[in-house]
Amino acid sequence: MKLKQSFIVAIVLALLSIVAWEFYWRSQGHLPNIDDNKNLWANQRAKLKDIKENTVVFIGSSRILYDIQLDIWKKETQTDPVMIAAQGASPIPIFKDIVENTDFKGTLIAGITPPLLFSTTYPEAEFMSRPQFLVDYYKNRTYAQIINHKLSIPLQKNLAFIRDGDEAWDSDVDLKTLLKQIHFGERGEPVFPPFYNFEDITLDRHMKMPERMVTDTAYASTVKKVWKAILGGDMPPPDKESTINAFVELSKKFINKGGNLILVRCPSSGLFKDIESKAFSREENWDVLVEKSGAKAYNYQDYEQFQNLFLPEWSHLATKDAQFFTRELIKIMQSEGALTNSKTN
């Protein structure tokens, strides 16, 4: 057996194949990017162990993650933003974690996405279990996981075919996802359209909508198809009462600690806007939440300048519009003295 020869053949062929694979995905428009995964979230959550005077914490779902541009926020408010909003999640589990497990009592900005907050408090429901998983992961992660993540960053930054996400929307070029996209025949459950990646995130979780989502409408439409499939599926009726009560209880605890709670309703359009206005009417949900929680609140619907923003897939702002939204929101908040620990330039 000439093992050395086999070894050299294997290494050379594997390297050539990987290079070809990398070029193939780049030719398809995929560029290297970091995935928004549990480790990125946990690293931000870890910042709450050492709270600074000017720390501002963001919780909520993907809307606040995409719509608040952290570089602008930092520059305009001179605060230190910690982004621990979680995609596809109710803010309740993370809010509970902050209230019960940290000493944080600065400014907490909670993004309110009606279908995610007002649907349920049932722990097994996806919107609740997903953020709870993040909270648990932060508490239980091992040194091996921390090192593994650190080692994966250079690979994620430099190779287009590397994915390190936890969710279906993070995976589009790995073998398992590619196999999942093969379908024939009518058997089984309805086929879900492929969920292509539309994240451009930094290590401190500054999220931007990739430019491709603005320039390539066909690509943006693939995400819209996914939203249609999700929103067209069977959903249990919203549980307005228990969700509002749970949030309000946490709000009171946080405000009583001396915290400054601000609620933000980020923009939506198209199908999302239609469904949100019908199934989660402002009067019965947002207005009740604002009144009962005693928090300061900003709803995009109340401001003229936020009415014609561009959301390539109906739910998250294009980067330029997100930058505009962030700047304008800061101005509004500062004019009303809502940001208690910010400094203006």
Partner: protein, 440 residues
């Protein structure tokens, strides 16, 4: 150096639990040392009992505490006491079932005067802690491993490259075959709360059958490969088990180091085949029930063990009353029957609740007339093809070894196969951070 690396390896998961390793090491080192010099049989027995109590005590506390408490609560409450137990939510130390069995084998062998004591404490500590096999085996006997630590080891070039090859195969089994091709289907079927169509139930079970083999054999192969890269030889843990001709053959091929441990330290002390047929059946059944419980603190694992015990007893009866000669023609059929029966046991192993297991069994035997079809055609074809190839590979490899096959093929062919496996491992990018057997 290796010892330090092993402690760091374990500490990267949970530093405080290295203490357990130290305690286990200290107790068995001391017990072993005393057993090597003590002549008084009563005192020797006391040292053995001390070692057993500490090791089994750790297992009982960390692994079986909540299970025992739950069952105690259920029994007490049937008499109307209304007792409420308080689960402690204790973390299960990774690999505890493996390293406690390994250290116990040392003390038992010392007690039986089968082996010499380890020359130094560090050699013994490394035997308990050797990182490639610490968390999921193979469970290695002292005489096979400690003696390898007595002199400085350095892998030869061929050993090193073969070790890399085994590591590649292990990763391929875990990342590509188990996690990419099979785990999704098994999770979907066993996670479904619906009553399933027979095809879906069988395909889900076959997927798990393949997944658990590739997952566990993958870990063992990685461990053997990494050890070989360091110049240390570990024993095989799997020998193409899905082509077993009957169940006693299966246990000589599946998780070999555990089944030989159970044979030597449980089945034989229970009497084995030396005290008549009834005692033999009892010994077989008790061994398999405990083997089931070793895998997890749940009644489903005990049923899994009980089914294997029943199979072994039925096989003995068949050999006694319906003997037949195994030929090339009926051999494959027998292997297929064995594999099918093994699949039924996997239902209990994988299902978290009896209700799920029973629904699956009913679906598999078409006792559900209107089961849900949750799997798509491609998934059914994919899983069936992977498991069929797995079965055929095991059949054709059952009397040979990877080493023998690699000697027969050209270096180019081996290199190309190796490259394909590497490529598939890299493009799969497995996110599975754990092996199934880590939880045992």
């Amino acid at each position: 150096m290796l010892l330090l690396a092993s402690y760091i390896f374990y500490g990267l998961w949970n530093p405080p639990l290295v203490l357990l390793l130290w305690i286990s090491t200290m107790v068995d080192w001391t017990a072993g040392k005393k057993l090597s010099v003590e002549q008084n049989e009563r005192k020797r027995k006391m040292w053995l009992i001390l070692s057993m109590c500490v090791n089994l005590g750790f297992l009982a506390f960390f692994k079986y505490r909540d299970f025992l408490l739950d069952n105690f609560t259920t029994v007490v409450n049937t008499y109307g006491y209304g007792y409420k137990s308080q689960p402690m939510d204790i973390i299960l130390p990774m690999g505890i079932s493996f390293y406690t069995f390994q250290t116990m084998s040392y003390t038992i062998d010392m007690y039986k005067r089968k082996i010499e004591p380890a020359k130094t404490f560090l050699d013994f500590a490394l035997y308990v802690t050797f990182f490639p096999q610490l968390v999921a085996g193979p469970i290695v006997r002292a005489q096979d491993l400690i003696t390898q630590f007595y002199e400085e080891k350095k892998a030869t070039a061929n050993q090193f490259i073969w070790g890399v090859f085994l590591l590649t195969i292990g990763l391929f089994q875990k990342v590509v075959m188990a996690d990419t091709f099979l785990s999704g289907t098994a999770d979907k079927v066993f996670g479904s709360d619906k009553l399933l169509h027979g095809v879906d139930a069988w395909v889900g079970t076959l997927a798990f059958s393949g997944q658990i083999f590739f997952d566990f054999a993958g870990y063992s192969t990685c461990a053997i490969g990494i050890a070989l890269m360091l110049g240390i030889i570990l024993p095989d843990n799997f020998k193409y088990p899905y082509a077993s001709l009957g169940f006693s053959d299966l246990w000589k091929r599946w998780h070999i180091t555990l089944s030989s441990w159970l044979r030597d330290y449980l089945y034989i002390p229970l009497g084995g085949n030396r005290h008549g047929i009834l005692r033999l059946y009892v010994a077989l059944m008790v061994t398999m029930l405990i083997g089931g419980l070793w895998h997890g603190a749940a009644w489903t694992f005990i049923v899994w063990g009980g089914l294997h015990g029943t199979y072994l007893i039925l096989e003995r009866l068949q050999r006694q009353y319906l003997p037949f000669k195994i030929t090339a023609w009926n051999g494959m059929f027998l292997a297929f029957i064995t594999f099918s029966c093994v699949n039924i046991t996997w239902v209990f192993f994988r299902a978290r609740k009896f209700e799920t297991a029973w629904n699956m069994i009913k679906s598999m035997f078409y006792m559900q007339t209107e089961g849900e079809k949750i799997l798509d055609t491609f998934t059914i074809i994919k899983v069936s093809a992977v498991v069929a190839i797995l079965f055929l590979c095991h059949w054709f490899m059952r009397n040979t070894s990877l080493k023998e096959v690699s000697l027969k093929i050209s270096p180019w062919t081996l290199g190309i196969v190796w490259a394909i496996m590497l490529f598939l491992v890299i493009i799969s990018q497995g996110s599975g951070e754990q092996f199934i057997y880590f939880q045992f």
